[in-house]
């Protein structure tokens, strides 16, 4: 453990030599170091974790389908192709067609952008509210604010989410995917808010946060500088899980036919196939199966991604993969696998 010597020798010497005009670290060097710590090292950790690699690849695939795919593949219309063509027969409609002659693969691709919009809106709402509520009530522990916020959180946890969302959907019948996402995000935040609060409570005990408070820094500054960084792992992992939940719920609601069928959606495909009796008719089965596989793939990607991020955010693992920090391998021996 002799890393004190190897650790930026130049800086240490300059620090104690007050006669020398302190030369600021060159811009390029600083950028390189920041990039190494925030991008390269996490990427190196991620590459060693198969879950992160596979998860990212799957999500990137969906991203491509939602952006380039929509441009490349024509918007499906009725009568594009023979009805109920079986899958893997014709290259133009490789996943087969439905009873209206619309290629299923193209429908799946054209449903992706709306899905991303929903996920984005829902994740922003649920993570944003959760972080705000958790940070505030954790930091103002014991005050009226904390009591009120936690009571509201407990109430929202208790109210069954899906029936509430269904009532909201039935009343407002939203067509815009962003609105659907926001409504779905509304019942999604309390769990994370509680996690964030308990994290804040434990971090608050740390000496460096106490020091900031004694120094008289404002609550906002402390929240931003000391706490938010610590909470990023929870927030990222929970974003992925919240996204999965929003996919499940929105597809479920489209599948039930509660949301208006205005756009292509994986749930709409499933609904039409299921109502058409696909379970009993082998020639229609592909119409039901491919949307289900798509949903599975996307949430599988999200779950893997969230688990991979878990190891990326592990500070000790990241330090080992960063080239700007010294290599203190003695410290993290046997610690790489204790965090599953």
């Amino acid at each position: 453990m002799n890393d004190q010597e190897s650790d930026d020798k130049v800086d240490l010497e300059e620090l104690f030599d007050s006669s020398v005009e302190h030369e600021p670290t060159p811009m390029g060097e600083r950028v390189r170091r920041t990039a190494d710590l925030t991008l390269v090292a996490p990427a190196r950790v991620a590459l060693t974790d198969w879950r992160a690699v596979v998860g990212t690849l799957i999500l990137f695939g969906f991203f491509l389908a939602g952006t380039a795919g929509v441009v490349l593949v024509d918007r499906p219309t009725s009568g594009d192709a023979p009805i109920l063509a079986p899958p893997f027969q014709n290259l133009n409609y490789i996943l087969g067609t439905d009873t209206f002659g619309q290629p299923i693969g193209a429908q799946l691709i054209h449903a992706t952008p709306a899905m991303f919009k929903m996920i984005f809106a829902g994740a922003v709402v649920s993570i944003g509210v959760a972080a705000l509520v958790g940070l505030l009530s954790g930091f103002m522990r014991g005050t009226v604010v904390d009591t009120v916020l936690m009571s509201v959180t407990d109430i929202v946890i208790t109210i069954p989410g899906l029936p509430l969302v269904i009532v909201l959907m039935a009343i407002f019948a939203p067509k815009n995917p962003y609105v659907v996402g926001v409504l779905l995000g509304l019942d999604n935040w309390p769990g994370l808010a509680r996690t964030v609060r308990s994290q804040v409570l434990s971090i608050r005990q740390e000496s460096y946060v106490e020091a900031s408070r004694i120094m008289g820094l404002s609550t906002g500054t402390i929240l931003r500088r000391d706490l938010l960084g610590q909470l990023m792992p929870y927030i990222t992992i929970n974003s992925a899980l919240a996204s999965r939940r929003i996919i499940f719920e929105s597809v479920g609601l489209y599948f039930l036919g509660i949301l208006p069928f205005t756009t292509f959606n994986w749930g709409v495909l499933m609904n039409l196939a299921y109502k058409g009796g696909a379970l009993n008719r082998p020639q229609m089965l592909h119409w039901l199966i491919f949307p289900m596989v798509t949903i599975f793939l996307m949430s599988f990607g999200l779950v893997l991604f969230s688990q991979g991020m878990d190891s990326v955010f592990n500070v000790r693992l990241r330090a080992r993969h960063a080239s700007t920090t010294s290599d203190n391998s003695a410290m993290d021996q046997g610690q790489g696998d204790g965090d599953v």
């Binding site: 208790t158 109210i159 039935a170 308990s198 039901l288 893997l304």
Partner: protein, 340 residues
Amino acid sequence: MATNYLAKRFGQAILTLVATIALSFVLYHAMPGSPTESLKNVILSQQAAAGGSTVNIERLNRLVALYTNVQPDQPLYVQFYQYFSSIILEQDLGTSIYENKPVTTLIFERIPWSMFISVYAMVVGYSLSVLIGAVMAFKEKSRFDSVSSVVLIGLNSVPYYIVGILLIYFFAIQMSWFPYGGRVSSSVTAGFNVPFMRSIVMHAVLPIFSMSMLGLGGALTMRGNSVRVLGEDYLRVAKLRGLRGSRIATQYVGRNAILPMYTQFMIGIAGVFSSAVIVEQIFSYPGVGLLMYNAIQTQDYPLLMGSLIIFTTVTVVAIFIADLTYGFIDPRISAGADNE
């Protein structure tokens, strides 16, 4: 101290109920158009369909009040007071527009069936997840551990309704082991006899199994917790004392590993009750969820709000019961410690 904790939880439960009722009142007013305007439309169309005579405004207001307990011609606070008191004091949730029966009657006919599958789904899901998680932790890094990790991640990525569809396809249609819809076969006589009970169980197996998928996510958490507990010093002491393996597994590891999952289970209760709406529709299992689904199709707003309030009430009661038992498992809580 214990009474203090219970009083707090009880207050929380009451507060949640009040909040839900207030929310349903707000939602009546948030419907598109002026308060209860859309309801008038629904009633009007119903009457027109029935070949009814001309309807004047006063009569319409009386009808709205009769169906929903909201009296559109009164000031807002009077409306709210009347709405609230009729629900709390008279247990009157309004009258179904479509069925023309009291909402409470309709729901209470169905609620035992929903409770039946939800409670069993919860018990099956949670015990399975605790059991699998514990075994995985005890056999850490074994083949069983790695295989079940992948399987669990996979299962986490499949929405429970897709599990339901697959179960219907394989076990009801292909194998015909189980019936694929309804709650009891029409050929058996109702009563306290073996064929009737058997039919009920056979109809409930697939819904219960697909809902219990929601609880399985807990297995990975349980594994992580158990692995951590297994490394604790007190466990080594327990082993050195020569305690029986079964006692160590249940009283030392099991108990300490389950405790942190408490909040997850609490949120899970609301989730499992929620899932009834989708699962009951897939299996056409006539519980409250299916009632709610039909209420959306027929725009039966009183029934919709009534189902929401009942769903919340059931969840609140379930969580309150869980709270009572939690005091026994974790003495710290009833001692008034707030260390979340």
